[in-house]
């Protein structure tokens, strides 16, 4: 039988291959980041390290405002998506029709971004018109402006987009959790909320925080849906795409791309490192406790 551990070179080669693939995939990103720190920009023969392009981006009021809007969008999306994803994952644990439920939850992922964005655009336009008609019919102005394109419609678009990802991440961390644990807590006298907070949440906390990080990154990286649904404000991605389309890639564009890449990698990296360190710490603790109990 083939022994996977017969030669250490087998393992080394596999790791080398894995790292080479990851490096190849990330190469364009690193290249872009590299250019963003070059005083002379793309295509120059001379490389002079500088933060100037980043200073320009952060000194541009329009870009800073778009960053703020993106942050607000991310926070609003987190506030809506995470509780929804948590409830969905809890429901998944209890339902017997798991395959159908997962297919339903993941279905937004199978619709291309531009199709989903334009469908929502048409839907919201008609919805706004319907509410305006309702207001007119009732003789009130209270319904005017509901579902006009703006922050709310952009958030709804983002929630539909990010919910499947958050659902999956939380579900993965729920693997250790069993419904019987909640029932056991109830049998010990806990209310439904106490059972959730004391027993269920500590086990899925990592998943919830990871989902928050993930949703934030997706909000910063999304351009198509927000471009169609945002109404009167711009997100950072919208600004970057608009700049690329209108004036091509400038040193400023590379710096904007650099900011997004570096922030994304930092967030994800932090989550991974935290998770690994925590897992290692828990295992060390478990090993220490597993020492045989000695009689005195």
């Amino acid at each position: 039988m083939y022994d996977d551990f017969a030669s250490p070179w087998n393992i080394r080669l596999k790791w080398a291959y894995l790292l080479a693939v990851v490096f190849a995939l990330l190469m364009p990103v690193f290249y872009t980041i590299g250019i963003s720190f070059n005083q002379h920009g793309f295509g120059a023969r001379i490389y002079e390290f500088t933060f100037d392009w980043y200073r320009v981006v952060l000194g541009d009021t329009l870009l800073v405002v778009s960053l703020k809007w993106t942050l607000y969008l991310a926070l609003a999306t987190i506030a809506a998506t995470i509780p929804m994803a948590l409830l969905s994952a809890k429901f998944y644990k209890r339902t017997r029709r798991k395959v159908g439920f997962v297919a339903l939850m993941l279905s937004p992922l199978f619709v291309p971004a531009d199709i989903m964005g334009s469908s929502l655009l048409v839907f919201f336009k008609n919805l706004a018109r319907g509410f305006a008609w309702l207001g007119d019919a009732l003789g009130v102005s209270w319904f005017d402006g509901w579902f006009d394109l703006g922050f709310l419609t952009a958030v709804i678009g983002q929630v539909i987009y990010t919910h499947p990802y958050a659902f999956i991440v939380i579900l993965i961390t729920m693997s250790r959790y069993r419904v019987q644990q909640t029932e056991a807590a109830r049998a010990c006298g806990a209310t439904a909320w106490q059972a959730f907070w004391h027993v269920e949440f500590p086990q899925i906390r990592v998943g919830v925080f990871s989902s928050c990080a993930f949703v934030t990154i997706l909000s910063f990286n999304e351009a198509v849906r927000t471009a169609l649904l945002k109404g009167g404000f711009d997100t950072f991605s919208n600004m970057l795409v608009a700049q690329m389309l209108n004036i091509g890639m400038s040193g400023e564009s590379y710096a904007m791309a650099g900011i997004m890449s570096i922030v994304s990698m930092l967030v994800i990296g932090t989550v991974i490192v935290y998770t690994l360190v925590r897992a290692e710490r828990l295992e060390r603790r478990a090993r220490a406790m597993a020492e045989p109990v000695m009689s005195s």
């Binding site: 019987q180 056991a184 109830r186 049998a187 010990c188 006298g189 806990a190 106490q194 004391h198 406790m289």
Partner: protein, 366 residues
């Protein structure tokens, strides 16, 4: 509703439907305080549903649950005087043994010093002294169930519900834990309601047993009654190793019923059954009461004897099962202790006689 203080649990016409599926059909019974009560039956029969209705984990579709005379049918689990031990997976995996056991006490704000004392006392009772700081995944299956037991008992509730608590343990550990559960119940003196599909487990621990099948309460009685003198045919077929034979009533008197088995006529104690001639009826005899002899050998006047042919013997360690075939093709089993000298006495195909003490057969109408 009776107000007797001695009754800990009373269920009245309790039913549960899941859409068109009926899991429990109008079940009624009561359990005295301090009793060890087993709900025994085949898987999918409704016994866990019944236990979960008593514990408040399900809302009844019909009927009521009374605990110490109080209607709790509408109350959630945390507001009932019950605690529960689950089959498995129910320890809180992120908490140590000590925190698991202390959880319920913290909820009711018992002072920390008292919590420590009570947790230590309870861990000692279930034989887990010194395991306070272990995590659940560092414990064996049996130890995990002991922690669950400690977590439930430390709350000092009046009624403990056990949902197949030993089902995931191996046979040896299950036997040990059965005796342990019985010992603990006698020590704490509270009411235990234990769900199991394992008859040996139920007979070991229970003062009384209720047989639950197809969502119905088939029969209820002491462990000895249910085993030795089952009223219902289902009980006879489910508990112990019984031979069930059918025949037509040929004659009845106050004390006996004569049944025609087509190949022999036998007499069965009537036990007050209202049967008329020509009616079909069944009776059961436990396999350890069945005796096999050679044809023509006299078993005595108090025995019923029918002809049979010997099939084979099966060695089961403690016992040997002798299989015979009756003239109508029905197979019957006679069980004897290994080493009693009856082994290998007959050859396969040999004509034999099978008999049982007349008074030990049980007549079943339903």
């Amino acid at each position: 509703m009776t107000e007797s203080a001695a009754i800990a649990v009373e269920v009245v016409e309790l039913g549960k439907n899941y859409g068109a599926v009926t899991a429990l059909k109008s079940v009624s019974f009561s359990i005295e305080s301090g009793q060890y009560y087993a709900l025994l039956g085949p898987s999918g029969g409704g016994k866990t549903t019944l236990l979960r209705l008593i514990g408040g984990f399900l809302r009844p579709s019909a009927g009521h649950v009374y605990l110490h005379g109080r209607d709790v049918s509408h109350l959630p689990p945390n507001r009932r005087p019950t605690s529960m031990v689950f089959q498995n997976y129910a320890l809180f995996p992120h908490m140590t043994v000590e925190r698991n056991v202390a959880y319920g006490l913290k909820l009711i704000k018992v002072p920390p010093g008292d919590i420590r004392d009570r947790v230590d006392r309870m861990l000692s009772m279930v034989g887990l002294e010194g395991y306070n700081r272990r995590m659940p995944h560092e414990l064996s299956g049996g130890q995990q169930q002991r922690v669950q037991l400690a977590r439930s008992l430390v709350l000092e509730r009046d009624i403990l519900l056990l949902d197949e608590p030993l089902a995931s343990l191996d046979a040896k550990l299950r036997k040990e834990m059965c005796l342990e559960l019985k010992r603990i119940q006698e020590k704490v003196g509270i009411t235990f309601i234990h769900v199991t599909h394992n008859q040996e487990e139920a007979l070991t621990v229970a003062d009384r047993i209720a047989i639950i099948a197809d969502g119905e309460l088939v029969e209820e009685g002491t462990a000895r009654d249910v085993y030795e003198t089952p009223n219902k045919r289902f009980t006879a077929e489910f508990i112990g190793d019984n031979n069930v034979l059918e025949g037509t009533v040929s004659h009845t008197s106050d004390t006996r019923v004569a049944l025609d088995l087509d190949f022999a006529k036998v007499e069965i104690p009537a036990r007050g059954a209202a049967l008329s001639t020509g009616e079909r009826a069944a009776f059961s005899i436990r396999s350890e009461l069945l005796r096999i002899t050679g044809r023509g050998e006299d078993m005595g006047a108090s025995w019923q004897v029918v002809p049979a042919s010997y099939v084979e013997d099966v060695y089961l360690g403690l016992t040997v099962s002798h299989l015979v075939r009756l003239p109508d093709g029905t197979e019957a089993v006679a069980r004897v202790m290994s080493g009693d000298g009856d082994e290998n006495r007959f050859e396969p195909g040999q004509e034999v006689a099978v008999g049982w003490p007349t008074d030990r057969a049980r007549l079943h109408i339903a």
